[in-house]
Amino acid sequence: MDANTDTPAANSGHAHSKFHTFVQIAMILSVITGIEIVLVYLPFAKWLIISTLVILSAVKFLFVIFYFMHLRWDKVFCTILFFIGLVLALGTVAALLALFGADASQPLTSQITQAHASASLVG
């Protein structure tokens, strides 16, 4: 979008194209959602499906914030402000998943269950 078009005719064209952009993006988002739903039933490797789901969700997320939420046409400071929160949130999620995904973080109940299972196997 050209931000330097200030004539009424240009503004009308700009608004008109924006309407179509919004509708097209909504269609794209719906199609991506459909692909996501079908994807979980396909017999592919788990890591491949999870990676694809994460990428598709990220694409949907970016489409919404940059088009529906106008970040594409707004001042860059809005993007920076939002991404500060987003990066902190993603960092927290990644750190927590890394910490609690480790074997050392297995809850005691699981260890007890495993110990019981191995004891019964030996017995």
Binding site: M1, F22, V40, G85, L88, S110
Partner: protein, 279 residues
Amino acid sequence: MSSHAATIDHHHDVTTSTGIPNKKLFMWAFLASDCMFFGALISTHLIYRLHPPPGSPSPQKIFSIELTSFSTFILLMSSLLMALAVNAIQKSHIKSTRHNLLGTIFFGLIFLGCQVYEFTHFVHEKGLTLSNSLFGSTFYTLTGTHGCHVAIGVLWLILMYIRSFKPADAEAGRPWLAVAFFHFLTFVVTIVAGMATVLGYFHARQLHEPLGQFVGQNLLAVGTSIVGLAILAFLGRSRVPVEFGEANAIDVESMGLYWHFVDIVWIVIFTAVYLLEYL
């Protein structure tokens, strides 16, 4: 992305030294903090899913992918209508703004109705409660918090819709307040009665009850919904020039940012909480 794109930031609002209107700056700062809030809730849910305690429920047997996919689609479409409402008010198209706001409210209510149905179904038929498993605790906390955000968004949308009827004539302001209050009250009563009707209808269908029996048993809810809708249609007629216009674009836009945020949070929840369970 263009840092000098002065297409939106000039709608009669006090700007800061950054050149961004106060209301918009506040909303972006709030949404950034809300990202961290939801990040914490989502990671808590995922962590407990990594190590399910013995006897944990199987989410695959509880979830309904059809209902969740439908809710996702509805929320996406409500986002489109919200974007169109912002687009319309920036061009001073009041009627179009109202229609799009009403559409967004309607879709938001469908989403909430689906969530109420889902929670009721999970509790009464699948036995998943807030306190009988870790999965239930984190699931209801996360999706319930998101639902609260949607409900607040719907309330905000209704208030903005009613505000769009404020007459331009200042002397007409005092009676307008009473009318606005009545308008709001009608919305609340119609929504509650409407939801009771729709949920009652689906319940009756599950029990294979005939339509006549359903109407007979839910006469109050059905009647209130119809009368409420008729009053809303009457109040929705625009008779006098209104104050609402392009000057309020920033208000609608701020509300739109909040609504789209609710949508993007659901995009993440849909993948992280629901779809991953089907792998």
